[in-house]
Each structure stands twice: as C-alpha cells, then as structure tokens.
Amino acid sequence: MAEKSGADILVECLIDLGVEVVFGYPGGAVLPIYDALFNHPKIRHVLVRHEQGATHMAEGYARSTGKPGVVLVTSGPGATNAVTGITDALMDSIPMVVITGQVPTQLIGTDAFQEADTVGITRHCTKHNYLVKSPNKLASVIHEAFHIATTGRPGPVVIDIPKNVQIATAPYEKPETFEHASYRPQTKADPAAIASAVEMLAAARRPIFYTGGGVINSGPEASTLLREIAALTGAPVTSTLMGLGAYPASAPQWVGMLGMHGTYEANWAMNKADLIVCVGARFDDRVTGRLDAFAPNAKKIHIDIDRSSINKTVEVDLPVIADVASALTDMIALWKDRGHKAADLSEWWARIDGWRARNCLAYPDSHEEIMPQEAIAQLYKASRSAKDVIITTEVGQHQMWAAQHFGFDEPNKWLTSGGLGTMGYGFPAAIGAQVGNPDSLVVCVAGDASIQMNIQEMGTATQYRLPVKIFILNNEYMGMVRQWQELTYESRYSNSYSDSLPDFVKLAEAYGWTGIRIEGPQELEAGIRQMIDTPGPVIVDCRVAKLSNCFPMIPSGAAHTEMLLDPSQVEGIMSDEAKALV
C-alpha cells in the first residue's frame, strides 16, 4: 500500500470521521499539517486570532450542532493558550478534539524552541490525551480520540503530534470499528434501578425533575423524552444553567432555573420536595447551596452516565448509571407498562404557585436608566422574530440575567461556561455556533469586562463574514465581582471598576463591523431591532444601570430557603466561614 505522511493521514482521518471544520492557528510545529490542509479543501479551516479563541469556538460549534469541535494549534504557546478552553470543555462535558504540534521526537525533553510538555500539562484537564510517536499509530489514535471525546460523558481529548511524525510515512487504511481494551462507558441502566425509579416516581406526592447539561449532551431525543416524562407525571421541572432549553421555558410545568441565581419557586420546591429526580446534572455547589440544608426531606434519584458523579457531593437514594435518553426511554416504557397515572399533585402545585406569586425575577422600573434585566427581556422579545436564535454568554451578572430573563424552548440554543466560569468564552463560542449554524441569529450577551478577554476574535468574524452580534450590558464594572464586594466586603470595590474602556462603537468600525450605542430606555427597542436587522456583525454598547445587582441570590453558605430577593435584605458583611466558600 502506498504510504502517506503523518500529516496526510491526520487530514484523511478527519475527513473519514466527518469533520467539516477545524478552528486553528498555524505555527512551526504544525506546518506539515497546514500544508496537508492546503491540499484538502474538503476541510474548512477557521483561522483564529488566539488559540483560546479556537477552543471556545470549537465548544460553541459542538454545543450548538452536537458534533465534536476540532482544534489545531502549534506546540508550546499554541498548546498552553488552548489550556483554558480545554479545561472549560472538561468541566462542561463538551466533545472536543485538540490536535497540537510538538517538537520532533528527538528534541523532546531538550527545552527545544516552542517545546512544552503538552501531555503533562493537559493530563488533568482532558478526558484523555496522547503523544503519538509513530505515524503507524496515528490513524488508530485519531479514531480512538474521537470515540472517547464523543461517547460516555463527552469531553476534550488532546493529540500531541511531533513534527517528524507529521513528515514520516506509514500506510493508511480507515480503521475498522474497534472495541477499546478498557474504555466502555455504561449507557444502559440496570433494569432494577429503572423499576425502582418508576415506583418512587409513582409514589411521590411532591416530585421535581432537576435537569442538567447531560440532557442536552444526550441528544435532542433526550429533551423530547424529558418533555414526555414530565407530561406523564405532571411534576415540576427545574434545570441547572447548563441544562436550559432541554425543557421549554414556556411550559406551565417549568419553574425556572435553580441554584444561586435561580428562581424562588425552583429553590423552594427543591427544598420541600419528597422526590428529586436528577437527570444529567451533578449537584454542583452553585445548585445545592449549603449541603447540610439541601433538600432535607427528599428521596433522590440520580441519572448520570458518569459513576463518579454519584454521591460526589450529595448522597442519593437511587443511582441510575446510564445515558439520559436511554434511561428516560426505559422509565417511560415501564411507567406505561405498569399502567401508572399521574398522581394528584394539586396540593404540591398550589404551594409552588404560592412561591411563584413572589414574582422573584421582578426588577425595579426606571425611566432614566436601562435596567439590565429589561435589556435582556427586550432582546428576548425582539429575537422571537428570528427563525432560530442561539444565545451565548460571557461570565458574570449579564450571564445570570440572560439565564433568568431569556426563555429557551429548545436544546442547543444556550451556550455558556458553567463549570469553569470562563470570561472570554461567549464571543468565540458565538463565532463557533455561527460557523455551525450559518442561518441562525447568534447573539453573545456580554459584559463590558468579559468581552475584552477575547475581543481579538472580531477579526475572525470579519474574515469569514460571520454575522454574529455582541450585546454588551455595559455597566462599567466587573459587575459580579462588584456585587460580591457590596454583599461581602462593605462595598469596598477593590479593582472591579472597568477603567479605560474602549469606545466599542469605534472599535466595531475599526474591524468593519457595525457599532450601535444604546444610551437610554427610549433607545432600547430600536437599538435591538437595528442590531437584529443588520446583516453583518454588530456590537451593541448598551449602557445599563451601573449598580444593579443580580437577584434572587443564595449567598455563599446559605440554604435554598435563605434566598435574598432584593437589596433591602443585603447586610454588606459575611462570616469568615461564608467568605471562605467559593
């Protein structure tokens, strides 16, 4: 068989694996791969401006299309710049394959130019990683890497390829399907666990579904099944930040997001429930609040594909280790088979309606300033005219306001950095989402501080004519830091003021974008309309009330029942125990 270079083998593998787009940045140690890409126009390469941008674009692409995101970067600084995005993908279970160049094998360990121990550095921020030392191994490693990244609990996989391995030749044949020696994720639940889950659900009088990103990772079918099981049981549904859209925000059984900035009704329902069915979520500290006061009277069922998520922070009564779609299929079938009917939950719903009546997401009205919540509500209203809307966010107050005030009815339309909380995620993620969904309206809701963390990617959007919209809630502060300083450190605003902000409108023009400034409530609706109607990329500098806080809020170390609903409840100081929590 004719032999091919390692670089050609890599590119052919990507084609065989159905990869359509690679986000990358060239450099010395990947020049052979870039040369191979030059001759393979089947793969679209998106040239980024910084490798961190490439990783978040791959995440945005993956999260919005369900396909793995692929990144190609050079050795040394190329690889280290990618580390934040790789870690972000690990925390949020995003399927991603990152190909890094490496110095030639004979130079590894000599502190060669642009050498970094990439497999060492990424060992604990990847699901798995490889250093490929022979072109003969390349094909099997690449196919295995995609298998590992996309199956089980998805995650990032790094393949480090020394330059001489890209040049050296080996025979290539598309590998047959293989069985991995040790990696076999459990996707089908134990039937006994399914049976117990169904009986617990049938017996519950105050049940609630607590859903998460696992529903979205499981594929669109899982969201459909979640809707079905919710309808069959009549139980309320809440979700983590990562799971928004799996269950429609417009449905009557939806009680809103739970956790630190979740709704009053979702958190109280979690606290008073007699059964919590956790579906593809992981009892994160942002969700549980104070652990010893978390859902004290509830039995807990935990459906998760990753056994290490079971009993990690909260002990559960019934683990169901499975893919969400598979487990829900089995549960629904058995529920129907046994002739269960929805229990009378009217008493439970009456209590939930009582909590709902607090109207916890209400915010003060203003005719002088734009309330940031109102800006999101207007954006939501205006974007309903578009046929498909994808929202990404950076990290901070704007992220929480977007989660609270934008309603998501479908999965894969809400892209945000949940686990790692990476400022600088949203804008490149929007670019990646736009690459994967060219006809969708993709809006990055940003803050004035976090947008600056990967703002260089404006050039990427310009180059590829990607009509992404950046909607900045500009309050001239790192708002969430400022809010915590107000709540915890008696308003000592240490380094949280965004001094020397650029003129975002002029910046837009410098990159060939459209810039819009919205300065008062009377301009809000028209400004948003103009953003949506502009065909190309747009930055909106939306000047909002500077000192708004994000409520409701469960302060660090507090229970679900100790939510702060408005500023009058803020004391401005906290105990050392509470201060020491994240």
Binding site: K127, L131, S182, D306, R307, N311, E577
Partner: protein, 171 residues
Amino acid sequence: MHIQEEYSERHVLSLTVSNEAGILARIAGLFTARGYNIDSLTVADITPDHAISRITIVTSGPPKVIDQIIAQLDRLVPVHKVTDLTDNGPFVERELALVKVAGVGEDRIEALRLADVFRAKVVDTTIESFIFEITGTTDKIDNFVALMRQIGLVEVGRTGVVGLIRGKEPN
C-alpha cells in the same frame, strides 16, 4: 475560623491498567489534583506481553472519599479494573523491605536473633553490618525497623504494598 479534620480509614486498592506511557502520572496526578492521600503505590507489568500492569495503592480517607477515589480511577481511559481489597476481602497483603543495620559484638548477635524471630533473611554482610530482607505486612515491617533502630539502623528501602484477594477467583 478553623479547618476541621475528617475521620479516615485505610484501604488497599488493586488496579489493572494498560501499560502505556504516562499511566503512572495520570493516576498519581489524580490523587494530588483531587486532594486524596497516597500512603504507598507499587506498579509492575504482569502479563507476558507487558500490556497490562497492576498498580496497588494504599490510601486513606473517609468512606465517602474512598468511594469517590474508586469511581474516579475507574473512569480513567486506560484503567481496566479497580478492586477495593479492603472491602472485598479477605485478602493477602505483603511488602518487602531491605534493612541495613550496623553494629559489633552483642548488637550484632541481637540483630541476628531478632531477624530470626521476624523470619528476615541476611542478604549481605560485612564484619560490621547486615542487610536483612524482610517480607510481611506493613505493621510487621514497621515493628522490625523500630527494633533495628535501637540496635543501629543505617537505612531502609521498602517496596510498598502488593495485595491479592484470597481464594481461587481473580480480584
């Protein structure tokens, strides 16, 4: 504010893993990254084709943490199987130590006498020293080394624990 210590128990974990580059760093790094303890760790390949290694880890922590350690190890891609010997016992555990002792006269005779009691073997000798080879549980070796310290301990090398479940079934 003070930080509370938690109750902790000792467990011997036995893992089979693919014998590939970086596997040890992957496992040791998991322990440091998640703040778990390693009391001892041994590794060697155990199949004729050198494809599989057995790693034995002695760790300690609250029962909940031990469960997490097992689940976290189990999800590493190259890990084939994790067995908690302590929970699946009865099991045999052994450690080997080389113990160098120097002394003359009565000390030398006492060292030999104690070595006999502990079934330690002399594997090297000079006029003024011995190296003993001793196998046994961690406790037994601790005790032997403590006695030798009083006589003239020079240095000790220990392998760490290996273990297997009793009976004919594999781990």
